[in-house]
Assembly symmetry: C5
């Protein structure tokens, strides 16, 4: 994993006055795309618009307007939204700085929610992430993504085909729907990681390879980053529930509570993964130590038996002129007896120590 | 343990509108079974019913009705209960998603309690678990289980034979009875794990085998999962005690306090187990290191004594024409003296270092 | 230590209605013994009574009555106390289940305090424990012990000889006296463990033996159990202080604060012991690793010097017909020069690496 | 890193009455420099003044006056500021003791904020720090630095060229601007450390050298010091937000909230770095253990195969007169067969154990 | 360090009625010494008195009286103070039990503060400590020390020469002065430990010796004890600040806040030391493991190269009658070629594995 990249937070901003709009982060999307969905109980309209003013015209009290923006490098566009809807420049700054911590900020006329959308790239065992900022106004929701492609397709389907409560509800329900989609998608991510952990465990207990432990380590490092994204979520959703803003209606609290439960569950699973991976590393270490012990035992047994024997053989290989044993008739058979007895004694010694 | 399975949370739900009823989890039971128990101070009726409407008819103010459902895959049935008793679809969703965290949710007309029932499969050293959801209404309790077979038999006996306070009390006491049965059963589980730990300790201190440490590790991983189930319990029961719902009468608070104590005790024991297992792994590691040390000492002593001696013998095995020592009469005895002295010096050296 | 035993919580109770009196725990005492102490400012009476009714008759407003019961297996006796003094069956259940967590429960007419009395069996390096339950009523104190023999003798002496405030004070002061005796005794226990730790430290730094580390480990496991007993104490005593029961008079708060301080001190010392033992284990491990290093260095030095030399000697032990060196006159002295130089080079190499 | 230096807190002060002005810390700057910036919406003046009285004259209700002092060893100067603006001697003491923990203190007429400015010296892999104290009064801000050179240049630019809101705002906005500059600079520091971590990770996974782990360790020690500086920041900024001082106007709360978010982000990143570095050390250790295992396997395989073979060769190198094998014609070929078979058996043995 | 001694808390007290005055701790001082300082704005008197009554006579509303007692074994004396000034026997007990946890207790007429005075004995690398109890009354301060010699000399100087606010202030300021002196002295201690840590780090990174790690360990154990003394300080000083006693005047709050900051700083430094020492131990372990690896590599390289070569030499040292190679003319040169090639192959193998 390129920690380098993950941790990067361009220092280009340092020194500029607060509220200056600069896009901080990698430029991930080629072109800014503006998607518009406008609906109420009876009507529905969906289109891709060229310029932002066109879409802002749709915002009025009779419909819910959802503007989705893919790509953040066009700061002019963001500024136009800000001036049209009366959004504070610090809020726009937060939208543009894509290394934000998840948070919710409650202003009088709108609420800003910043989250991360997470994907698991199985091939490189890496969690990829993208910041998504949601501005909820009285009749509109604006969502900002760094990249095209999102997890909202099923939600759009529900709007298109008027499934569930969504067409009958307001902008707050739509915002909830976005949050719900994102957090539901966390479970998809967690399941993939779970499978990964399961496979690693399998690998570890059958035939661990050199890379097994490396993979466990790198997955654990990923989990450290994941934690950073999910822990603040708890606070964010709890704050949503608690907030007394007029923008969030009473009857949504039910759904928000449900969302809160899901968030806690996500955190729980992430913590459990962390503990499991730590446990697997410990197991690996104790196995390594076990194996080492066995290797050393084999060496010690071989060396301890044969080195003394070789010495004895060495003695009678000496060329001293006066070595009486060399002349004796039974020397050689006696030598063998001595050798075999010595070896057996050693084996018994090792047996007693339970090394065999 | 198949972590894979434990962590699975089907992503089939992701994208559906909130409140859509889909059973998430393994399909554990073959057939949905509906058990009905209906009683008051004077009367008692118990039967297995075919369809859910039949059992719902029993619910009225004069009796306490307990409907127990084994198997969750018949979402139609669940939906019928919901529409008959006015239960919110998000609540039913929680019942069907069998990977919930234990929780309590207090609605106006009913209370939802979600818990896990735990079993210990001694043969595979695995903790098995099943979600149980309890809906407490003013005159009824509905319990949903994933599988047939539960820990409520003694409770049913008490109802049948009118033992204790149960027949004289309301639906809240019945719900308390269910919780109490489940938590009492945790002690059975903990005792079994305790025995397991005791055996492992015994094994570790007498003749640890290769698998011993693996078993300790896998038990510790199980404890990590167990923790996840028991920690939220504390909150759940405390919430039960605190709640100001009309559904829970004053005089139950006594019993709930007792239940709370038991819960704390369960958590205490789980934490103690965790610490004990960690301690055992540490002990194992320090023993391994000890053993390694001994193995190496044996090797070093043998090698350090005999390798130099073999070298000396090697010298006089050389075939140089002009080697004066070879011709001397006392060479061979002198050789032995040198050898023995060298060996003794080495032994003294090792003795001094306390290696012997 | 037999963890098995320590963790046992008989599952006989699981399934019985709450409030059923069953003695859970080992049957430690042979016979139930009932000790009665009855006193006021002017009078004093102490005797061992046969049946419980006799002792209950002593309870009246003019005296403080202390009934001490050793042995809990006679559930009939306990039940009689309960019915006579109007004590709830769940409270009696708590008294009988001797694996309780320390706790205090404040009922209107009486207060239940559950604690553990701890002993240190130096011979087996084990902490033994016994549950003690104290019921404080308006004019009486009943204490339940699992075993004969306690730490209250000095307290009885003070009552007998009218020392200190005790004869002038009420039942609440007596209950405080019992708590104070128990917690004072913890210091005796801690001092014994402290001596043990000191000895182990001494042993570790002078001549650690194989068992040293085992003893440290087993002491650490004991401390884990000890923690479980002392942490809840803090809450219990703080609750005593906070409680607004009429049973505890204002002027006791002074003493309870003192008791609270002692409790905090006990916890402090237990935590310090835990950290010290962990530190000792770490030290042991780093020493082991140090020793291993030394052992390996000795081996490596011997082997690295003599194995090449033996090879050289081996060469000239070969029987090739045409080996010119064998015939040369100065071969043997040159051989020695080469050997000595090689050995010196190796020694210099090891010296440079600081292995010598 | 010279921990010695970092931890030094001169004990010269111990024993002096509280409020005595002594500069504690290294004397970092040669000469005290006084920088003055005085501005309002319409006017702007910037100069370096010789003596402090001159600059204090500028303070009045119509302008915002910022006095920046580089170098703290001239206690007389500090005292003059104190007496002129009515600042308590304990506050001045805090300014002079440059080993303060970050803190905010709210007095009636002024607010003291103490922070650390951090730099990363890439060459020595060390974080350097300097204390900066800010006194915010109703129409002035005084900042005290230990050294010349700071991170405020862009802020000065904004004042000079009337960019953003600063010239239109009061002293509180200026103080906020200083805090914002300092914390923005933390991200620059963190990015540098992040690059360092990325490089170390790269190094670790490709060709770890002896120094790699040393560098990781020393970076981790640095992070421990860093934590000490950033954790209290959270409290400081939160306190700023909460404070009800008249000195901080309502409309700043917006900006302070933003600052708070940044602070949390800084802490988050520091914690993540700490965890990452710990993970890297663990990985290193498990790799070392892996390598050791391999080294030992190679040794064991070589030794276990050749030592027995050498022994066999040694036997037939003996010079016994009566050794029948020596005379046999096929002895030599048979010897080779035996040798090869023995070697193959050993290889098969190691193969089976998966050591090859 | 003699943990034994540090942890000792004589059990002599166990069993005595609460409030019995027994001196618990070592008898450190030979003779009890009573020092008297009596002053107000205008007058000042300092003397050493023989008996306590004499000094108590000085206490009146017009002066501040400071009685300092060195040595606690004269319980009669302590009792006299108690009865004269109306101090509760439990308070006196706390003064005499010199193993107290730091604490503050607020009675109506006086406040008890218990702290530890710490010294660092550099020669034995040990932190020595002494309990100091301070009783603050309306016009007097009584301080009890275990030993002669303290850190209050500068404070006495300030009183003698009327420096600072002390002579103009009341008994509360004097008590604050004592606390301030003690905590200022902690920094002296911490600096000494810091130097020690710095030296150990130096030692560790240049030429670690066997004792280095032992010293680090023992310093870490000392820090564990130190923590026990400093953590409760925080609470004590915070309580001082919060307390609403009439004994502490409003205008002291300023100074107490300052003291609180110092306390937090002390805790911070202690925690940092703890983390640094842990880091150093980790570094030591990874270095040990590194060294071990190197030692093993050297052994393996030597053994793997020379053992096979020795075997080959051994073959041609055999005395078989029919060994054709022995007769060949080029055998010996060929032998050398084979030997050298084999050695080179091995070296290449090790080179490839990066062992060289």
């Amino acid at each position: 994993m390129s920690i380098l990249l993950k941790l990067k937070r361009a220092s280009k901003k340092a020194g500029l006055p607060p509220g200056t709009l600069v896009h901080i982060g990698e430029r991930k999307a080629e072109m800014v795309k503006i998607g518009l969905v406008n609906y109420n109980k009876d009507a529905f309209q969906e289109k891709e618009v060229r310029n932002i003013e066109e879409s802002l015209d749709f915002i009025d009290a009779s419909t819910v307007t959802w503007i989705n923006i893919d790509g953040l490098h066009d700061t002019g566009l963001i500024e136009k939204i800000g001036s049209n809807l009366g959004i504070h420049s610090l809020v726009l700054e937060d939208v543009l700085h894509t290394t934000q911590r998840p948070k919710i900020e409650n202003y009088e006329d709108y609420i800003l929610i910043v989250l991360r959308m997470l994907y698991y790239a199985s091939d490189v065992h890496e969690i990829k992430s993208e910041q998504i900022s949601i501005i909820l106004g009285s009749h509109y929701v604006i969502s900002f993504q760094e990249l095209e492609g999102d997890v909202f397709e099923p939600l759009r389907e529900r709007i298109r085909h008027n499934k569930g409560k969504i067409r009958k509800s307001g902008a707050d329900y739509l915002a909830y729907g976005l949050l719900d989609s994102i957090i539901d998608n966390y479970f998809v991510l967690l399941e993939k990681i779970g499978i990964q952990i399961g496979e690693l465990e399998e690998e570890l207990s059958t035939e661990p390879q050199k890379q097994t432990v490396e993979k466990i380590h790198s997955l654990k490092q990923e989990i450290i980053f994941l934690r950073k994204s999910v822990w603040p979520l708890r606070e964010v959703i709890a704050e949503c529930e608690r907030t007394e803003s007029d923008l969030i209606k009473e009857d949504l609290s039910f759904y928000l509570r449900d969302l809160y439960d899901h968030t806690i569950q996500v955190i729980d699973v992430v913590e459990t993964y962390h503990d499991l991976l730590s446990g697997m590393l410990d197991l690996y270490l104790s196995r390594m130590s076990n194996k080492m012990n066995e290797v050393m035992k084999v060496l010690t047994i071989f060396a301890s038996i044969f080195i003394p024997l070789t010495f004895i053989a060495g003695i009678y290989g000496m060329n001293f002129k006066y070595m009486p044993e060399l002349e004796w008739k039974w020397s050689y058979p006696v030598f063998w007896v001595v050798i075999i007895v010595a070896a057996l004694v050693m084996l018994a010694f090792f047996k007693k120590r339970k090394w065999l």
